[in-house]
């Protein structure tokens, strides 16, 4: 993959200069801080909102609730951000003509795509690490200390799920010339895979299966097998990249 290192450097500089990396990291930091807070104070908020008119019997909040809240936020808002990060990656470069600037150089198209996904992956990795670190710290303050090893494993699995949404959207971005269309395809894929997640035979292999496995690892409790969704998600990411390359290598710019 000729030029991969040079292209990756350009992509990372772009992530920084266009403020994508710092903005996404700040949003993820807020998600990380707010998730344990919401878990801790939701029962009290509900009681206060009810004004004593509704007699709610809620179990006492736990570290598991904080993790569930974080997983839900990363699975929704985080996934949406991953889709938006990848939507314009190729489509906008084709539309604006900057892809032609790079691809009239001795650069392979595979390298062009891999650099894009790796750069988005690094942005998501830094942001996920920030979110999980913040959630770990607030969970420690409000509930209990979670195992550092489980925390790292959960961070990696949550990141892998986000990378899968980005890879699907990168494929869409390669197939179209519109970032909006690519984002739409990514969003539809997110919903479709969510629906497929209710099919027992398929569910363990999907990126949506990573959250439950990550939760079990983080809390140190028995849970679903972690390797199945990891392997399934890695295969999905690889398939998206290969399909994107097969399409891109035949495209006129």
């Amino acid at each position: 993959m000729a030029g991969l290192g040079v292209l990756l450097r350009k992509e990372l500089l772009e992530q920084w200069r266009t403020l994508r990396l710092p903005l996404v990291a700040i949003v993820f930091l807020l998600i990380g801080f707010l998730s344990p807070l919401l878990a801790r104070f939701t029962p009290e908020i509900l009681r206060a909102v009810g004004g004593g008119l509704i007699n709610l019997e809620l179990p006492p909040p736990s570290a598991g609730d904080a993790i569930d809240q974080l997983a839900k936020n990363l699975g929704q808002l985080g996934a949406l951000i991953a889709i938006l990060l990848a939507a314009g990656a190729v489509a906008t470069e084709k539309d604006r003509g900057t892809a032609a600037l790079l691809l009239t150089r001795p650069v392979g198209r595979a390298g062009f795509l891999v650099a894009k996904l790796v750069a988005i992956g690094i942005t998501l990795a830094i942001s996920t690490a920030v979110a999980v670190a913040a959630a770990w710290f607030y969970t420690l303050v409000l509930f209990e200390q979670l195992s550092p090893g489980g925390t790292v494993a959960a961070a990696v699995m949550n990141w892998l799920a986000l990378l899968a949404w980005a890879a699907i959207t990168l494929l869409a971005s390669t197939l179209t010339r519109s970032a909006l269309a690519a984002a739409g395809i990514g969003f539809v894929a997110l919903i479709l895979i969510g629906i497929l997640g209710i099919v027992p035979a398929i569910a363990p292999w999907l990126p949506t299966g990573l959250a439950a496995a990550a939760r079990a690892l983080w809390l140190g409790v028995p849970g679903p097998e972690a390797w199945t969704p990891i392997v399934g998600t890695l295969l999905l990411i690889a398939a998206c990249l290969v399909l994107a390359w097969l399409a891109f290598r035949r495209q006129e710019l």
Binding site: A2, T98, R105, V107, R250, L253
Partner: protein, 346 residues
């Protein structure tokens, strides 16, 4: 623009007689639109080659196919001895390309853009640093090098485009309308630069500015609606296609007599075109130079017109162009002023 810097933009000289570019029956269709129709060309290595034609003639399509940005529907082409194709890094190592509307990353600085394109073309430090500075000097952008490109003018972006096309000393350079956003001084400098690349680099210059082509090109191809109309050395084309041309400059204040003279000239059997230019001069294009030379002054005398000057003018490329392509009629143009492409059954 210093001579040493111009020389440093060029690649090592090609062996004499080698071909820089060769195309055979190159055809490009977009659905039912025939953008390029069986183009066969041979461009000698080290020549400056002008690709001429009205808007929509197929010039940009030709460059896009030759640079690997578009795929030919039929036919073959080689650039610097490498067969063209979409995903061909070995082809692109040898070529430089300036788009007619060069686009860059607005968040990037000018120096960074040249470093990026230089690195992608295989340059490494310390040569890369030297080439970046040379190119910035060459196009007069040294002072703006640390500013973000997003705030640059169209002319500055075009000059940056030229610098990135030349940074790696390509064997073949494709320049699509390279002077369209330049001021007169920048245009003159660029044409000097192109002339300085001759012999060492094959330059293909796509333009509709005929004066620029006359100034720097060794050979010219004229395209019209995707077809090659003619191709050859500039002087040969002028000798072959340009009709003899005479210019008459009447004294002022003889409007009626001049009108009569124009009518007499237009009625002459050897006259192919008679028109009145700005300032009252009369331009006479003739099919038979000898007959015209013998007949014009007697016709002037008959019409009673007093002349300030009478000359046989050197035909220009514009005359050749108009002779071969002709001005498009109103039905030939689309809403953007482009010549309508030919449509074929898809």
């Amino acid at each position: 623009m210093s001579a040493s810097v111009v020389a440093s933009a060029a690649a090592p000289a090609e062996p004499a007689g080698a071909l820089g570019i060769s195309t055979r029956d190159l055809t490009k269709r977009y659905g039912s639109i025939l953008a390029l129709d069986g183009l066969s060309l041979e461009v000698p290595a080290g020549s400056v080659f002008g690709l001429l034609g009205p808007n929509g003639a197929g010039k940009t399509t030709t460059l896009r196919v030759l640079t690997g940005l578009a795929r030919a529907t039929a036919g073959t082409a080689t650039v610097a001895g490498v067969e063209v194709g979409l995903d061909r890094p070995d082809l692109r190592r040898r070529l430089g390309y300036l788009d007619q509307d060069p686009r860059f990353y607005p968040w990037m600085r000018g120096r960074e853009l040249l470093e990026l394109t230089g690195r992608l073309s295989g340059l490494e430090q310390p040569e890369l640093g030297r080439r970046v500075l040379d190119m910035l000097d060459l196009v007069g952008l040294r002072a703006a090098a640390e500013r973000r490109i997003g705030g640059w003018s169209g002319g500055m972006r075009q000059r940056l485009g030229i610098a990135q096309a030349l940074i790696h000393r390509p064997t073949v350079v494709f320049l699509d309308e390279p002077v369209s956003s330049l001021d007169p001084e920048g245009r003159r400098d660029l044409l000097d630069l192109i002339a300085g690349l001759r012999d060492a680099t094959t330059v293909v210059l796509s333009t509709h500015l005929l004066a620029d082509v006359e100034r720097v090109c060794d050979r010219v191809a004229i395209l019209d609606r995707g077809r090659l109309v003619t191709e050859g050395p500039l002087e040969e084309l002028l000798a072959k296609h340009a009709r003899p041309l005479f210019l008459l400059d009447p004294e002022a204040g003889q409007d009626d007599a001049v009108e009569g003279l124009v009518g007499r000239l237009a009625a002459a059997p050897w006259a192919t075109d008679v028109s009145t230019l700005a300032g009252g001069r009369i331009r006479v294009s003739a099919g038979d130079a000898d007959a015209a030379s013998a007949a014009i002054l007697p016709l002037v005398a008959e019409a009673g017109v007093r002349l300030v000057a009478f000359e046989r003018a050197r035909p220009t490329l514009e005359d050749v162009f108009l002779e071969l392509v002709g001005p498009p009629g109103p039905d030939d143009l689309d809403g953007r002023g482009f010549v309508r492409p030919r449509e074929v059954a898809s």
